[in-house]
């Protein structure tokens, strides 16, 4: 079956611009996660959605970062006023429930010039 998909695969933007990254989880998965993989910080948890519960946003690095999940499926991670330190690969994962294996998408490579 289809796995987690993310778009775009690559995004180059200028400092100060806003970007939106999209994640399509595996159908039927109620839990969705965003992580960031960067050279300086490794793999970091950003945010977690589970069904209709309030998301866990504890990993978001600043208030320039936000995410939403519409209809319990597709999620969008938005970064406002991008900075060079935001350059990283942004990974999305989904799981059936929060106890279950997390399946990762291929990531979006963001480069901020």
């Amino acid at each position: 079956g289809a796995g987690v998909s993310q778009s775009p695969s690559n995004k180059v933007t200028e400092k100060g611009k806003d970007v939106e990254l999209r994640c399509d989880p595996i159908s039927g998965h109620t839990a969705l996660y965003w992580y960031r993989q960067s050279l300086g910080q490794g793999l970091e948890f950003l945010i977690y959605f589970q069904g209709n519960s309030a998301p866990d946003k504890s990993g978001l690095p600043s208030d320039r970062f936000s995410a939403e999940r519409t209809g319990g499926s597709v999620s969008t991670l938005t970064i406002q006023r991008t900075q060079q330190e935001d350059s990283a690969v942004y990974l999305c994962a989904s799981s059936l429930g929060h106890w279950d294996t997390q399946y990762f998408g291929p990531g979006t490579r963001l480069t901020v010039l």
């Binding site: 987690v4 793999l43 866990d56 106890w99 294996t101 399946y103």
Partner: protein, 114 residues
């Protein structure tokens, strides 16, 4: 706070040799432990996990890891590696009420040479 340490950033090894990738964690509560693999130009894939029960867990491609609570370790081993095992390996931990939140180590690049 939890943390995961992978001391070796890169491990070069010859084909058919044994390998051990080290992982240590710090946590004061019960933990769940994972190894993920990232092959070149591919996404992260779960290799194996420890949730409870037997402390030795195995993957379908010959890797195994043993949970050692006293040493707070979850080292990954394979008795004989193949060229195709060349990849980056990430150890991860989650705990307690935040079991959904994976905390990753910095990764170990396994480089298998012919």
């Amino acid at each position: 706070a939890q943390s995961v340490t992978q001391l070796d950033s890169q491990v070069p090894v010859f084909e058919e040799a044994p390998v051990e990738l080290r992982c240590n964690y710090s946590s004061s509560v019960s933990v769940y432990l994972f190894w993920y693999v990232q092959y070149p130009n591919q996404g992260l894939q779960l290799l194996l996990k420890y949730l409870s029960g037997s402390t030795l867990v195995e993957s379908i491609n010959g890797f195994e890891a043993e949970f050692n609570k006293s040493q707070t370790s979850f080292h990954l081993r394979k008795p004989s590696v193949h060229i195709s095992d060349t990849a980056e390996y990430f150890c991860a931990v989650s705990e307690g009420d935040s079991s959904y939140k994976l905390i990753f180590g910095s990764g170990t690049r396994l480089l298998v040479r012919p």
